[in-house]
């Protein structure tokens, strides 16, 4: 193999890995490679993908956001209760997203101004927001109710456009915007710079704190979008929704080749990472692997993928 090919192979190794992985599963199970199952995989991946898109921003800055699962739950609960009380849908949706962004912004302030480690700050926020959600919902699911636009709202979770599930369309839009921001705007450049060398970024005249606020606000807002999808699909908000989702999102980002140290990676990798996790979940279900074994296998696959990735550096 000549060098050019080798470089190309390195560049697209995650895509190649994803395809090879899918083919193996297709051979093992003939129900995998059907249009309806593939759409199903994409649909189920959409929630993790949307959260992971936001997580990519955070990890690129060298941070981490553990509070996304709780934010998902609280935003969903707020949306559901607003809808149930007859608020117009558009207002409910926007309020939920703004709430998510605000929680993220608070994370940003605590981390940038309060100089608290991102891990600790968002761990605390995760617990606080889960608490707020439980208080707000009284620990019980909130049904979106029989309001006049109920059907339109549930479209967010289970509608279809030209046969494509709506959550997939949301995911595509989210990733397109995230890609645009990271690739083509100053904010994107600053996110990479910050993760690469915070001190030099500051000395380059960049308001590092603002970059952090924005990154965490984006992550919070996207967690809220995921919360809306979940709530719309079930027509109710669960107080325990999203528990543990932060870990799947982090796994997707890292599988996608973004470095936990910051400064390296991007959202394209994250989609692939999320798909690998999604396909794995799907395949294990198709093959009737029990949930205990599913966890074990999932963990091993993540570890192996990251090791392969590291080796080739």
């Amino acid at each position: 193999m000549n060098k050019k090919n080798k470089e190309l192979l390195m560049k697209y190794k995650s895509v190649i890995g994803l395809i090879v992985f899918s083919l193996i599963i297709a051979v093992l199970n003939d129900r995998f490679l059907t249009v309806s199952n593939i759409l199903n995989v994409f649909k189920q991946t959409s929630i993790n993908s949307v959260i992971a898109a936001g997580m990519t921003f955070i990890i690129l800055t060298g941070g981490i956001d553990l509070s996304v699962g709780s934010t998902l739950a609280l935003s969903g609960a707020i949306a559901a209760s607003l809808l149930a009380s007859g608020t117009p849908m558009i207002v409910a949706v926007i309020s939920a997203i703004l709430l998510g962004a605000f929680i993220g912004f608070l994370n940003g302030i605590i981390i940038a101004k309060g100089k608290v480690q991102p891990f600790i700050a968002t761990l605390a926020m995760m617990t606080i927001i889960r608490g707020v959600t439980l208080i707000f919902t009284n620990g019980r699911p909130i049904s979106t109710g029989d309001f006049s636009g109920a059907e339109i709202f549930s479209f967010i979770g289970s509608g279809k456009v030209f046969g494509i599930p709506f959550p997939i369309i949301i995911t595509i839009v989210v990733f397109a915007i995230a890609y645009y921001i990271l690739k083509n705007t100053s904010l994107g450049r600053y996110v990479y710079a910050l993760g690469g060398n915070e001190e030099a970024t500051k000395l380059s005249g960049i308001n590092v704190m603002q970059v952090k606020y924005k990154a965490y606000a984006i992550s919070g807002a996207l967690a809220a979008v995921a919360g809306l999808i979940v709530t719309a699909r079930l027509s109710s908000a669960q107080p325990q929704a999203g528990s543990g989702y932060e870990l799947d999102a982090i796994a997707a980002v890292v599988l996608g080749g973004t470095s936990l140290a910051g400064g390296k990676g991007g959202v394209i990798g994250t989609i692939i990472g999320a798909l690998i996790i999604g396909i794995l979940n799907n395949a294990l279900n198709l093959m009737d692997v029990t949930s205990y074994y599913q966890l074990l296998i999932k963990g091993i696959v993540i570890l192996v993928a990251v090791l392969i990735d590291r080796d080739s550096e």
């Binding site: 083509n184 705007t185 001190e199 030099a200 000395l203 005249g205």
Partner: protein, 498 residues
Amino acid sequence: MENIILRMENVRKEFPGVVAINNVHLNVYDGKIMALLGENGAGKSTLVKVMTGVYKRTSGDIYYKGEPVEFKGPKESQEAGIAIIHQELNLINELSIAENIFIGREFKNKFGRIDWKKTYIEAEKLLNEVGLNENPKEIVGALSIGKQQLVEIAKALSLNAKLIVLDEPTDALTDKETESLFKVMRKLREDGKSMVYISHRLEEIFEICDDVTILRDGEFIKEEKIENLTKDKMIELMVGRKLEEQFPKINHKFGKTIFQAVNLENKYLKDVSFGIKEGEILGIAGLMGAGRTELAKTIYGVYKLKYGKLILDDKEISINNPKDAINKKIAYVSEDRKKDGLILSLSVKENIHISALKNIEGKLGYLDRKKEKEDAQEYIDSMSIKTPSMNQKVKNLSGGNQQKVAIAKSLITNPKLLILDEPTRGVDVGAKKEIYDLINEYKKQGMSILMISSEIPEILGMSDRIIVMHEGRIAGELSIKEATQEKIMSLAVGEQVI
């Protein structure tokens, strides 16, 4: 013929898209110091990294003590008796001198407990050997760079190294520290150790080295005994042509006073006042720790002012952070490009633009890629930045070329006042001249330049006026006519000069 301890033959090293060295030969003689010379990016660091197994060579042979060797990593070459002291020191700041020296090879008693007594005694012996008068319990982070350098050498000795490679060790040393380093090197040579010495300071080569190997653009040019070379000859071999006058002084009329610092005072500064005119280069001399970098960083908004005013264009300005400074057209090029200056993980193009993205920002925050490329190319050309492409990560450039990127990144903000902190640190002779020419070019256009430098010839050669700092104060000001090396030094050490 002398004995050769290490010989490299036809060594080639490729990186993706770059041939860093090709067909290079290097002989290191028993008990001799071999200088390794070449411009920035000539391949010196790469060559010694290949020698010690940090990089795997693409082709070529290495013989150590007559045997062909293939070191798989620095640990293997270390065990074989080759120590390398990288320009970026590899010490752990939070640990003590003794802990650093014996890290990974601690003395233990039979219960696995570290034998501290023995550790300190052995460390003490090594420190004596390198002439470092410090308690081995001292934390390394508290030492000056020069002393840290000596700790690295002590560590090399503890490994019983036969061959020690020093990659630009004097880059950040004061003259005194350099002198004591040389004393240690001479002593090691007498003890029969061999050394490879990399530096851009050619005077040092004559002082300390026995032989010289010259590289240019990754190719081997010549090996020669030091006696057979002159400085001009050396430069000609390195650069491939003769260099004219190093400091082409520009005499022109200055404009009005554009910037004034009035009674600046904070933790680092005491009552510092000065002014600078349009088109003037004001040199700031002083010893390390005199507060020069702190002065620059205070003006640039990194450190807070306690008292005092900054006046730009006859208006008092307040600067609270570097962003304010850049908006007010004040730029700063740090002395520490890796830590404060560059984002090594980003490309050359991205680094050049990072402080001035708003110049290329369009609708929806979309960055104008075409203009970005054009601007980057302009600086790459005008500063002769050696890089395979503008998309190369800055991390992969040679030290001197990194420095040029750091300067370009400030120039692109189009400053009225440019503060240069050790602008030619680690830069080769040819590139130094290019940087001087560039500074002069901007001076001609009316930019005011504050130039901090520890190299007195540079201060004398470039400045229109010189202020000398001592312990956070301005110890004196000299016009370029009256300034001499002696006057600068005596002000710098705190003696009064009339």
